[in-house]
Symmetry: C2
Subunit: 376 residues, 2 copies
Amino acid sequence: MAKAPTVYDVAQRAGVSIATVSRVLRRPDDVRERTRTVVHEAIRELGYVPSGAARGLAARSTGVLGLCFPDVDGIDEVDDLPDPVRVGEAVEVVRDVGGPVTARWSNLYLGEVMRGAELEAWRTGHAVMIGVARGLRRAQAVNELAGRVDGLAVLSKSVPDDLLAHIARRVPVVVMAGPPQDDAYDHISVDNRAGTRALVDHLIADHGLRDLAFVGGPFDSPDAHERFQGFRDALAAAGLEVPDEPAARSDFTRAGARDLARTMLAAHVTGRGTGPTGHALPRALVCSNDQTALGFLDVLTEAGVDVPGDVVLTGFDGIDATQASIPRLTTVSQPMVELGRAAVELLRSRLADPSAPAATVNLPVRVLLRESCGCA
Amino acid sequence: MAKAPTVYDVAQRAGVSIATVSRVLRRPDDVRERTRTVVHEAIRELGYVPSGAARGLAARSTGVLGLCFPDVDGIDEVDDLPDPVRVGEAVEVVRDVGGPVTARWSNLYLGEVMRGAELEAWRTGHAVMIGVARGLRRAQAVNELAGRVDGLAVLSKSVPDDLLAHIARRVPVVVMAGPPQDDAYDHISVDNRAGTRALVDHLIADHGLRDLAFVGGPFDSPDAHERFQGFRDALAAAGLEVPDEPAARSDFTRAGARDLARTMLAAHVTGRGTGPTGHALPRALVCSNDQTALGFLDVLTEAGVDVPGDVVLTGFDGIDATQASIPRLTTVSQPMVELGRAAVELLRSRLADPSAPAATVNLPVRVLLRESCGCA
DNA sequence: TTGTATGCGTTATCAA
DNA sequence: TTGATAACGCATACAA
C-alpha cells in the first residue's frame, strides 16, 4: 500500500485534468472515446481505486445502506469474547454423542434478512453495511453506522428509542419486524396475526378441531402476542370459547418448551378429566413459534402420544428443522428474505421522497400445511 | 432530513471552535470538562451525527472492513431478480407435500462466516461492509467496495484474479477458504486434507475398515481435491492400495448425489462381485461433502442398505442436516465462524504491519464421530 | 469536449 | 486548553 493513487495521479499520467478522470468514471458518455481509453489505461497501470470517502463527501451521498441487528450471540462486552484459539494444525476428533440440536434460529433468520437486503441493494446499486447493536459502546457503534450510510434499516428493539430518534434526524430509518406502530418511522412488519388466524381457521374448518390451546411466548414478545390475537380471532369467528390468556407460555427455546411440555404432561396424566388419549391434553396445540412446537413434539413422541393422531401440533416461523421433524411440522413461514428486500425498498422510496408520510408495509406470510396437523 | 447539522453548527451552538467539537468526540481527555458538557449538549439538541465520509477522508482510514462473497442465489443479472411481489395482506395457505429439503448450505455457511467476521470486527471497533460479486457489474461493485474499506476479506474464487490484483494495490486483501496458495495475499485456509486424513484414519484404525471408496466433488473444486488427498494419505499410511482418482464424482448437491448413488447401486446390484451385502458396494463411502453423503444416505436407506451396518458413510462440512439424519452423519465440521474471525484478525495485523510477508493461517477442523460410521 | 475552481465535513498541525 | 487553518480526494458548476 505505497499510498494509493488519486485522481491527480491518474490525471497527470493520462495528461488530462482531474475533472476528466472523474467524468470518465461517472459520466463516460460526456468524454471523447480516445480520452476515455487513455484514462482507463492510466487507471489500470496505476491501480487506481476511487476513494469511497471522498466520493461520499463530494457527492453528499454514500451509496451505502445500513442494517442494524440486535445481538444474538449473548456477547455483551469485549471481555465476553475470548481471543480466538488456534490449535495449530491439530485436527480435533470428537465423539459427538448428540444432545439437543443447536438452535440457530436467530442466525438463520438474520442471515436470510441480510440476504434479502443485500439482494435488493445490489439490484439498485447500493452497498450494504451491517452493524450489531451490542455492548456498552452500542450507542457509539450505531451512531457511527448511521454516519456512514444513506439510510438505515433497524430490526425492531435493537436500538433504544432515544438513540433511534437521534440518528433518525440524520438518515431515514425503517424499522423491521416490529408490531405496526404509530411513530415517525417507516415500518415493515410481518402479518403474525393474520397468519395465525389462517392456520387456526384451517384446523377448525378442515380438521374439525374444537378443543384448541395456544402455547404463548415470552411476555415481552410482541410477535407472540400478535399470534395469540390471531388465535383468538379464529376461535371467535368459529363461535368457540375465547381464552384471555395463552394456556401456557414458553420461552421460545426448544429446551424450555420441553420442560414446559413435561410439566403439562405430568399434570394431565395424573390429573383431571380424560380425552381421547386417556388424559386431558387439548386436541390441538398451537404454538407461538417453531422451537416451542418442536420441543413439545420431542416430549409427546417420547411419551407415546401420537402427533397428529392424539394431539395436533403447529408452529410459527418456518425454520428448516420443521421440515426434518417426524412428522413434519405444520407452520407459518415468515418471509425472511422478503423482509430484507422490503426494508431496502422502503428506504429507497424514502430517499426518493423524504417528505412522504411514514408508511407501514405488512408482509404476508405463508401457512405450510404438513403432517403434524393431519394433512397428508 | 432538513440537512444534517455539521461540526460548524455544533461549534456555533456551543460557542466553541470546530476543532474543539472534533476533540470532544475523538479525544475527550484533551478537553475541559465544562466544555465537553456544553458540546455534548449542543450535539444532542441538534441531533448531530458525524459524517463517516468526511471522517474517513480526513483521517485517511474508514474504520470499515469489507467482506466479499460469491453469488449463491444464482442471480446473475438484475433482470433475473423479479420485482418483489406483495400480495397485500393476503395469507397464502399452501399444502406442502415435501420434496427435497432446500439446500441452504451456502447461505448458512456464508452467514456463519459473516457472523465471525462481524464479531471480531466489533471487538476491535470496526464496521463491516458486505458485497457479493455477482452480475456483469461485478467488477465495478468489487471496486467500489474496495474503495470504501480499509481492508478486504475475499472468499476464494469470488473475484477474478486480475481484479483482485488491482484492488490489492489499494487495500490489504485476505483470501478465505481457498487452497493454500503461493501468491501475494494473506490466506486463511481450512485444513481439508488433514481433516479427511484424520477421519479416514479413524475408520481404518477404530472400525477396522479396509475397503473404502472416495466420492469426489466437481473437478474444479480445490476443496474436494484436497479432501481426496487426505483420503489417499490415510490409505497410504495404512498400507492399503491408493487410488489415483475418486471412485465417483458428485456435484456437491444432494439431488445430484442421489442420482449418482442410484446409478452406482444399479451397477453393483446387477453386477460383478459380491460384498457383505450381496453386491460390491465398498464397505465405506467417504464423501467429499455432507450434501453428497446425505444424498447417498437417502438412496441407500430407500434400497434397504443398512448404514453403518452394510455401508459406512461419512461427509464433510458439518452442516446442520447431518445432525438430523438417521443415522446421524459422521462428518468433519468446518470452523465457519472462526474463518470469519481469523480473516478479520489477519486483516488487522496486516494493517498494523503492511510490510510483513504474506501469511497463511490454516484453521483446524473437527472430526465429529456419530452413528453413520459405526460410532455410538 | 475539456479544464478551473470551489466545496463537501472532518481530522490534525501548529500557534496562541 | 483552545482556535485557525490546511489537508483529505472527489464531484460538479461554470468557463473556455
